[in-house]
Symmetry: C2
Subunit: 781 residues, 2 copies
């Protein structure tokens, strides 16, 4: 990648809103280049490299999207892994976003993609421009012909809201930009004799069990096509409606069916395959031919969860013109508006790319999930209209409650409020009367554990974020946390723990239920409901039931009260945990750390456990158990590529060894993240990995969301200026910042010395200055 | 059936609105029983036997529905024929409505059914109450156990809006009544220990090619279930949403999946099969158990094409209570309101049953197809809202344009207006810019030929019916009739005929296109568009291109202008016709009869052709070609069981032999219809067969809809009083009516002698008296 890593003096450019700058520490080792912003916003998109995470298991995509946009227009580089005819393809997992950097073929451009998730779906409405003989079959392994084109990274450009690539086999240049609900493709066929656009409705990400349920297509006129696809993938019942507008008239079109059995529902009185304006079936691919006479072809694609009429409304509202450059510039401006919410200086210019790409990744989900008129498909599959909020979807809550939503409370409180409104709408529409667990596209996929929507709600409440109905939110939390058939909650309520013989991963579940119950207690506390608070504080102590003092670990217990044997605290399988083991996941009591430490032998013993965790040698067999984590994502037995340990480096603060927290978080930022295609050590997990980095780089982290207190780590930034939604700024200054100066010598909040390694969000949110004085050595204050 | 056939003196009961009665002819052979109506309406429902047509090929259903109601709640008596796993089952055709009178098992009660159609679909949302061990598999051939119950006709009662049956195997008494959009079931389990209700979403009528696309079910609370089923049957993309409300709480519930492949889209973290409130898959059957404590169980089922929210709205609006008797009485009243629009006296009391059942059958389709708030699913699969009309569906237009829609113009002009609005909405939503051909449930199934929506529009226009936009209607007709890829229209426009080598059934198509074009010319004429009128009158002459004077028959021509050889005018297959042959279908020029007769050799030769048609002996091989017509449905070579000949008996009027028309129509009424289960000689075809009977029994028939003139036949009624929507009455008196007195001695319209065997609808619609004087012998006036 020939990317310019230019460190700009952010404080020299004009920002939205004037304010005083008390910048009194001159830059030291920083390379300063003053760059005039083209608008009142600094152009921070140049520091974002969407390819970060596209190699190995980051599961990010390089395509075009706008912040929290409903449309993700991104290339697909593997067909077999995406479509495999009922057979589980182990390669499928690598293609959660449809793209791997090392691939050399592109099969088309889809319009929906998860960012960094640990499970796959989507990949809808694939467009592929081709030339030469029409071929509706993909060029998959074992086939000599078929659609697909080789491409080179040198001819590929990915930046926020814009993606471009040259398709070498067809000599077609592709550019794509987006608005919130539409994608705008611009194809240059270089005066080819033939110009086809293939609309592949067969292609799917995670095509397990013949994922397509139905596809439907109408040629409304010679430039407009509408339709929908319905799938039974990870989302059980998912509809994606679309409207597709061409800048030039279609000269001829048609489709082929790939159904099993082939569906022909009506009399064969037409040549259905050619120029017949209605097409439907389980699996169809359509083609559209154009006589371009050297012109470029624009293709606008709008999505909707409601109907093709909704998609058309989105198209007409968001993209009423054919000005690609204007659309591209608008997408960049949307990104700059968001990225400028945190303006940083870095010592190492490369860290700007890591930081702003991480910040970019935190704004790719949840996504807006409603049409421009506020209508959206709800969990009950009915069409609802958002009232007083914008509806969002893609809630990977087991991941994102940790750092993504707390980060949102800092820089996106309005959106976080809307996300909570959306979760409450989900609850209102739920046949289970439950808040979302892992929800996307009007479906609950039940992935992972706990009921962490409670954490997101509690964190917003203690941080005074949002206008959602607090009492209704408490009701939702209470109903969710008493759904007895969900993951052993009934037994948990009765016995104080989830028995392993009733529900697997029982320790993880018990620990997370306990934390979630503490969150509910915070909500009840805020509402003055002391009865509920007491009840849930009691439930929040359930973690103690999983601790076996004889072995010194959390471990799984059976329904009869006995410990499950044999027990291996290194093993991540069958030992009561999921995506972790007793060594790391067993430290998951974020809401009651002091007591946990006490229970586990006191501060020194606990610090020693942490030291061991970060330094121990572990056998290959245990490494292999983490399906998407390599040794690169592990420090000792600490696994940063999965989430259960994300709070662990900060636990040293509770042991009297904050310097060890400071060392570890800087080490993790340095070794687990980087401005490279493989710069993520595991799935980005819908922004959680990136949010950890953003917060940690600023110098603090929310160990227990639902508490207003951040644990202090060690900032990576040289300075930062965080724009709050109330118009105020949180300025962060880091004195003596340097790669080796990871220890904090002194920390001031508005000139007040902070000694307890804790910061109160409610104070930070008022604006002010946080000043770190760094040192190469730790000295207790 | 122990049905009371009581001839009532209709003129003695109180009717809606007082009016003068000039009844001056005393009853002669009629058995007169005066019966007080329970309301201001005569109870004519007692003359309706919904079992008529349920034996052999009538394809009617005995279940409960209200006039033009969206819900048809009716028993299913065969499972294999309905569900056959991708294999075509020749028995399927017999079960277009799901019921055959000779069967002895009931598999459940569905909520949608065609009435009398010649193709099948629907059969949705099947409920079956059972007792004893739960069994979710149907007791089909070769299986000893399974759900199903024997029943006896003596324990079965079918009347308009009400159906009751005893399920002997379960000792459960079932009663069902309906409103427009809901069914109300009442089950008496007779204190059985167990009470199950099975919801079978697998069962389908016409389950060709694994018809189910998706099913979705939610238990909203302990008395409410919602869901939908999506099929790819005859309708390519059809959604039926429902809401199901129980009068008693569900004690336990569950489902099983019968998918291939079985779909499990999410982690198996629950026992999905039992008490899990969300169920989905391609094929599922659910069960609901009840602790009834001797109580009866009420089940209300509402449908919607829009959403489960729409179904729930329909339920709450139309059936907010649990009063079964009130609902049943209301259904009967709705029927009486409609049936009373034609009050007749008959000589033979049995004819009252035939007549009123026929009248009943004319009000079973088209059906209302919108929710109570006016929302409905359109042809484009978007949700529309009817504006200024009520949306209808099920347009079997090749059948129903002939007599059903003309009858509607007489007694249901408002509904016919709404049906035309609905057809124009279909046009507006059509990707083909075409009016419906054979349309149902937001789909075009393209069945049969012609573009007869034009006839329905023209007939309404010349009869001054409706407030639809005439100019828009003309535009719709013009676009439809110039859709070159439809059924050879392109060649028809170019050559003046449909070439048989381009599109089969080419003579039928040419003749019907020509008639339809004449209809369009009438529309253009009414709008003063002489250019279009002239153009379409020219097109309307195209029928001459199919006549071969050398053989004296219409016959198929090839694209090169030569006749297709060999030619057999008796053969219904491959000879240019469909559901007919050259002998009968070749007389299809309803709009230009005089010229046709001249072309075919003049009046006497044509009358002789008609004589031969009605008297000729035909070989078994030709009988066998009519798949649903037996010798019972044929007179000579005249096939009343199919539609192309329905106008033929009236053609004698144009040959100077009206007495032969009079004899034939009375003969057909007598021999092709009767008050028995097999009282229909062929498919009722969405009411066309019955509408032919109703009009003919009144003494006239619309040979060429699009003209305001009726051809006079021979009335069967002794008297009739037809209530027009303008508040006026058309009174029909028949003097000397008797079975043998089929000839008309004299005919008066308001004392004016009619001699041309023609009546003008526009005059009849003003109200007045039509007086027939009958005789056993014909004497020219």
């Amino acid at each position: 990648m020939n990317r310019q890593h230019v460190v700009i003096s952010l404080l020299a450019v004009l920002f939205l809103g004037a304010c005083s700058n008390k910048e009194d520490h001159p830059s030291d080792k920083t390379t300063v280049v003053t760059k005039e912003a083209s608008s009142s916003l600094a152009d921070l998109t140049s520091y974002v490299n969407p390819h970060i995470g596209t190699k190995n298991m980051g599961h990010t995509y390089p395509g075009a999207t706008v912040p929290f946009g409903m449309v993700q227009a991104t290339p697909l580089t593997n067909y077999e892994a995406l479509f495999e005819d009922g057979q589980y393809n182990p390669d499928t997992y690598r293609y959660c976003s449809g793209y791997q950097y090392e691939d050399s073929l592109i099969y088309g451009f889809c319009h929906t993609s998860f960012s960094g998730t640990g499970h796959s779906d989507l990949g809808d409405i694939v467009l592929m421009p081709t030339t030469g003989p029409q071929n509706l079959n993909p060029k998959t392994n074992g086939q000599e012909t078929g659609f697909a084109s080789s491409f080179k990274h040198e001819n590929e450009l990915a930046s926020p809201g814009y993606y471009a690539v040259s398709l070498d086999d067809y000599n077609v240049d592709v550019q794509i930009t987006t608005t919130e609900r539409t994608a705008y493709h611009l194809y240059d066929f270089h005066s080819a004799d033939t110009a086809h656009v293939l609309l592949d409705l067969v292609s799917n990400i995670y095509d397990y069990d013949e994922k397509n349920v139905w596809t439907f297509l109408r040629v409304e006129n010679d430039t407009l096509v509408t339709g929908y696809r319905q799938t039974k993938g990870w989302a059980r019942t998912r509809f994606v409606y679309f409207a597709l507008s061409f800048s030039e008239p279609i000269s001829s079109y048609g489709h082929e069916k790939y159904d099993k059995p082939n569906y022909n529902g009506f009399y064969r009185r037409f040549d259905e395959n050619s120029n017949f304006p209605e097409m439907a079936g389980e699996d169809i691919r359509a083609w559209f031919d154009f006589d371009l006479n050297d012109k470029q072809l624009g293709v606008k694609v709008a999505l909707s969860s409601v109907s093709t009429a909704g998609a058309l409304l989105n198209l007409q509202t968001e993209l009423p013109h054919w000005n690609f450059e204007e659309t591209k510039a608008h997408a960049a401006e949307l990104w700059n508006r968001e990225l400028n919410k945190i303006q940083v200086e870095m010592v190492d210019e490369a860290d700007l790319t890591t930081f702003y790409t991480a910040l970019y990744h935190t704004m790719l989900s949840p996504i807006i999930y409603e049409d421009v008129d506020g209508k959206y498909r709800g969990l009950d599959q009915n069409i609802h209209e958002s009232d007083g909020f914008t509806n969002y979807t893609i809630f990977s809550l087991w991941d994102t409650y940790r750092a993504l939503h707390p980060l949102n409370n800092l820089i996106q409180p309005d959106r976080n409020n809307h996300m909570i409104h959306s979760m409450l709408a989900h609850y209102d529409q739920s046949a289970h009367d439950m808040l979302p667990i892992w929800s996307h596209y009007a479906n609950e996929n039940w992935c992972m554990i706990g009921y962490h929507a409670t954490s997101v709600i509690a964190d917003a409440m203690v941080k005074n974020v949002g206008d959602f109905d607090r009492q209704h939110a408490l009701e939702a939390c209470l109903n969710t946390s008493t759904t007895k058939y969900f993951d052993g909650i009934g037994e948990y309520m009765e016995l104080g723990y989830v028995p392993e013989d009733v529900s697997g991963s029982s320790v993880s579940k018990t620990l997370e239920f306990a934390y979630n119950d503490w969150c509910i207690a915070q909500i009840a506390h805020a509402l003055g409901d002391t009865h509920t608070e007491t009840d849930y504080l009691r439930r929040a102590q359930s973690y103690v039931n999983c601790y076996d003092p004889k072995v010194g670990f959390m471990r799984p217990k059976l329904a009869d009260g006995s410990w499950k044997t044999p027990f291996d605290p290194m093993d991540t399988h069958g030992q009561g945990f999921i995506e972790g083991n007793a060594w790391n996941y067993g430290l998951y009591v974020p809401h009651d750390i002091d007591n946990m430490i006490q229970m586990m032998g006191g501060k020194e013993q606990f610090a020693s456990h942490l030291d061991s965790l970060f330094t121990m040698e572990i056998a290959d067999e245990y490494i292999a158990q983490n399906e998407d984590i390599t040794r690169d994502g592990i420090i000792g037995n600490y696994v940063h590529g999965n989430e259960p340990g994300h709070h662990i480096p900060y636990l040293y603060n509770w042991t009297g060894h904050p310097e060890k927290t400071q060392e570890r978080v800087r080490m993790i930022m340095d070794s687990m993240y980087g401005p490279y295609e493989d710069g993520l050590c595991g799935n980005d997990d819908a922004g959680q990995m990136s949010a950890w980095y953003v917060l940690s780089a600023l110098g603090f982290y929310d160990v227990a969301p639902g508490s207003p207190y951040y644990a202090v780590g060690s900032p990576l930034v040289k300075s930062a200026r965080i724009q709050m939604s109330n118009g105020k700024y949180l300025n962060i200054k880091v004195i003596n910042q340097a790669p080796d100066n990871v220890c904090i010598k002194a920390l001031f909040w508005n000139d007040e010395l902070i000694t307890n390694w804790s910061l109160d969000h409610r104070e930070l949110a008022q604006g002010g200055e946080l000043s770190f004085e760094m040192s190469g050595k730790y000295s207790s204050q």
